[in-house]
Every structure is written in C-alpha cells, then in structure tokens.
Symmetry: C2
Subunit: 309 residues, 2 copies
C-alpha cells in the first residue's frame, strides 16, 4: 500500500493529512507556520519533517511507504522560490538519513482549488486581505484572474474595502464626500479626531488597512449609505472576476467555491455577492468545498504520481 | 532700510530672493536641496547660510539689516519638524558668530499660496506626484482640501493617474476590462510581456507609478478610450477639491492658481480641467501666480514682522 501526504502551510499554522492510495484519509496533525519566504527554509523543513514523523509513527509505516508529499503554501507562486524549498527540504531530510520519495511545493491557491473540487474542474474566489480567482477547465488547465496586489489590484478584498472606507472618511472630513458613520467608528476605535490623526495612523503607525474592511462591512450592515455604496462597487468588482473566469473556463456550468474570511462567513457582503450571482449568473453555482487545502495538496500528489483515476 | 529674504527649498534646489521693505526685489540666487527631513538640518543650514551670505555681499549689507528669513519647504507641514530646523539653523549661525534676527520655516504649499496672490486671498491646486489644495480666505485663515497621501488620497495626481493606468492594464490582461493602448506602452517602454512581468515591475523594482501618469495623459491624447475615461474621472476629482474649497472660502469669486507638473504645462488633462471650470464654475477664475514661492515666503516674513500693509 502506498501513502500520500498533503500539507497546507500558512502564516500561523501548518495542516498535514495522510491518505492511502484508495484516497482514504487516515490521520491529520498540525504544526507551526510554513511561510518560508518569511521564516526561512530551515525552520519550515524542521516543521515538515516533524509532521511526517507523526504520520509515519501513527500509521506505523516507514518513510519509504510515502509515495509523495505535497505542500501548498504562500510564496510558492514563483516556481524558482518553490524549487528552493523543495531542494532544501530534501537535503535537510538526507542530513537526518531520511529519504523522501517525492516532494513538491505548490501555491496555497492551487491546493485550495484542487481540494475544493477533489481535482475536478471548478473555480475558487479568494477574498481575504487580498483577492484573486483561480479556475481549472475540463482540459486540466489552470486559469487565473486578478491578484495584482494592493497597488494595482486586490479589488473586492479586505484591503480594497478598508482603503475605500478610509478614503471616504478623508473625503467627508474636508467636504468632498458625504458624511459617513465610518468617521465615528474611526474616532471611537482608534481615537482619530483630526485630519492629522488620520494621516499619522495610515502612514506612520503601519495601520492594518485590510482589517478596516470588516468595519466597512459592519457599518454597511448598520445602514450607513457610504459603506453600502462601497460594498456595491466591490461586489461588482468580484463579479467581474467571476464573469472573466467563466469566459476562460469555456464550460456551461461553473462551480464556484468562496475562500477567505470576507466570503466564507455570512455577512452583508458575501450575501450581496451570492444574491447577484443567483439573479445575474444562473450558470454559476456557488458550492461548498469538497476537501480542504491540505487534502487538495494530497490530491495533486496522487495525480502527479498517476494514482488518481 | 530693512531687508527681507524668502527661500523656496525643494528636493533638488533651493531658490533664494531678497527684497527691501518697499517690496522691491533686488537679487536672487540658488543652492542645493533643502528637504531637511531627508538630508538633515546640518547640510540645509550650510546651504541657507551660504545663500544669505551671497545676498548680503551682493547688496553690501550686514546680517543685522535682514529683518527676517523665511524658508518654505517640504516636510515643514508638521510644526514640530519646522521648529527643529528653526532651532538648528539659528544655532549653526551662532556657531559662526552670525545672528539672524528672525528665521521662520513654513510649508512649501503655504509659500506657494502666499506667492501666488502676494499675500491676498486666493487658492492653489497642486497636482504633481501627489495632490492637495490650499486656500486663504478674506479673514486670512488658511484652508486645506485633500492631501491624504497615496493610500487614501492624492486624487487627480500623477500617482493616481499612473495607478489607474496600470490597473487598467491589469484588468485588460485578464479580461475584466477593455483593451487599452497603455498595455502596448508598458510593453515597449518597460518590456512588460506578461502578468508576472507587470507584478514584478510594480512590487519588486520600485517602479515610479506617478511617472506613468504622464503616459496616461499622452495615451489619452492619442485617442485611447480607457485613458480618456481615467482623465475624465480624475478631472472630476480635482473639481471636487475646487468645489469644496470654494465653499470653505465663503467668497463670491475665487481666484485659482494651478501648481505642479501635471497642470502648469498645457496638456489634454489641464485643458479638460480648465474647460470644466469655465463651463461649470463661472465664479472660479484660473489665473497665473503673481509671485513665485520664494517671493511668497518673503511676503510671509514681511507680514509676520508687520511690514505688509
């Protein structure tokens, strides 16, 4: 019997799952962060090997029984960075006299996409701090829409919502825009009483603009019109992503999974997006993910090793 | 006879003028940069004293004949920073056994405003890398609109135009937006052939986004519709600044001087703004500045010392 390991490596924790070649998930465990661009490949290698050891011991198997290990993580979008971690981990294992049959590093988004549809075609829309959309067509090709970062992209993300909310406060302050309850929220939450306070908060105190996106959603929910107009614009932006992806996948019906804190929890924003999709895009079906990202990484490994039918 | 010195301190050069108490401008000279936040108060003090010496020697007067020296410069918007430079320069002069009667540091925008209208009421709209508007009412109070920086402000600036142009290219790349000649411009000017190239340019190569604003203006001039729509939106943003300032100044007719590279040179953008003002805001009169910013700083000194009637 062959075994497969899938790992979802995040900024705060790492989730590891193991299954046999019949796709029976047998065990899962968790470790520290694995954003290797930030904390280096050495620390991440230690975490990964410790997780693999837990899997092997629990199932009472050897490392040679594990056909492949696939890690989905942030910072792996660039192939050269992913290869650095692949090489360093294999060498780290060798230094411990352990041989890993196959180790692949993929992006966290790809792991999420492959998990959401168990390797079958579909699409995911991610809206957290940033935003991006990924899709897999019937030929197995991966497509991407958006994800151009905070300066020229991230439409519909927490960063974009937060930035528009703060801009709205600035416009209200000097009479260019309508009054908004967001000003009061800023005042009470961050003790902002003047233009200078606001500018100091944004530019000198490393303010987490994306976190203010949630405040915009809450304030819209309380009836503030300025916040509601921001949400309407941003729902439109996310819809543009969906529309563009639908055209790329060349399918009749496109399955869509929401990912990221702004969309997976019910709120006025995710609800407005769902409403818009239902009424205007009947060929797009919002569904729940079949598997989690760690399981998605595992599926990628089975596919690459020819064990997925 | 008393003499007054006005200095306009920029990031690349410093412009110094001297006049007598009858407001007769007698001499001007130039020195290196005076952005003291960047290069420190010591270097700036050396530059300033060298300019004052040139003035005194040319006019054959002593430092005691100079009633006041006023420097308008960037970074002086915060009073505490301005006071640091005031204190350091006076001490530097003392160390050379030179006494300066009065030395004030003001913001470059205030110097420009006071120069534009020789100390009388009026308004200036600045659009260069960033954007901001200043106005002086009939009571002598200074008002401000905009200037919230690149994250939550700078509407209508080169940065804003450039960002919108680059965002438009990103949207065109993945099918969310219409095609634009801006993509071709990026390709030929910066060798951008893919999404990854674009993202690398923006986030890893410290790309000067504001400089791309001029490209957007040029491309609009060549007939590109996407670029033209960006200009229409940004003219609207600048108009909002003007509208808000007009309400603040509580005057019937508001004089307005354009400042900054985007507006002072003729182009399709400044022309569109002028057209809009003429047709929609007949009480706003776009005029040329009466004096330059160095002269404006000098005027502030005369006013503060009670020599301006």
């Amino acid at each position: 019997m062959k075994y497969f390991v899938g790992i979802d490596g995040g900024g705060t924790k790492t989730h590891c799952v193991i299954a046999n070649q019949n796709k029976e998930f047998l065990f899962e465990c968790f470790g520290g962060p694995s954003n290797f661009i930030m904390i280096g490949t050495q620390v991440v290698s230690e975490t990964l090997l410790s997780l693999l050891k837990q899997c092997a011991e629990t199932l009472n198997i050897g490392f040679e029984d594990i056909e492949s290990v696939v890690l989905g993580t942030t910072g792996a979008g660039r192939r050269t960075d992913a290869e650095t971690l692949e090489k360093d981990f294999i060498e780290y294992c060798k230094s411990k006299n352990i041989t890993i049959n196959h180790f692949y590093v993929i992006s966290d988004a790809l792991a999420a996409l492959e998990g959401a549809f168990s390797g079958k075609p579909g699409s995911i829309l991610i809206a957290g701090t940033g935003s991006i959309m990924f899709g897999k067509d019937s030929q197995g090709s991966i497509h991407r829409v958006g994800g151009f970062g905070r300066f020229i992209g991230d439409e519909g993300s927490g960063y974009s919502l937060g930035k528009k909310g703060l801009t709205a406060v600035a416009r209200a302050f000097d009479g260019r825009g309508n009054e908004t309850k967001l000003a009061l929220k800023l005042q009470t939450m961050y003790n902002i009483n003047s233009l200078d306070d606001l500018i100091t908060l944004i530019y000198k105190k490393n303010f987490d603009i994306a976190s203010f996106g949630k405040v915009v959603i809450d304030t819209a929910n309380e009836g503030d019109l300025v916040s509601r107009y921001i949400l309407i614009d941003e729902v439109e932006e996310l819809t543009l992503h969906i529309k563009s992806m639908y055209a790329k996948l060349q399918t009749r019906e496109m399955k869509l999974v929401f990912i990221g804190s702004l969309l997976t929890n019910w709120n006025i924003y995710s609800n407005a997006l769902q409403d818009k999709i239902i009424t205007e895009y009947p060929n797009v079906k919002v569904v729940r993910p079949e598997l989690n990202p760690a399981q998605g990484a595992l599926i990628v490994g089975m596919e690459q090793r020819g064990f997925l039918n």
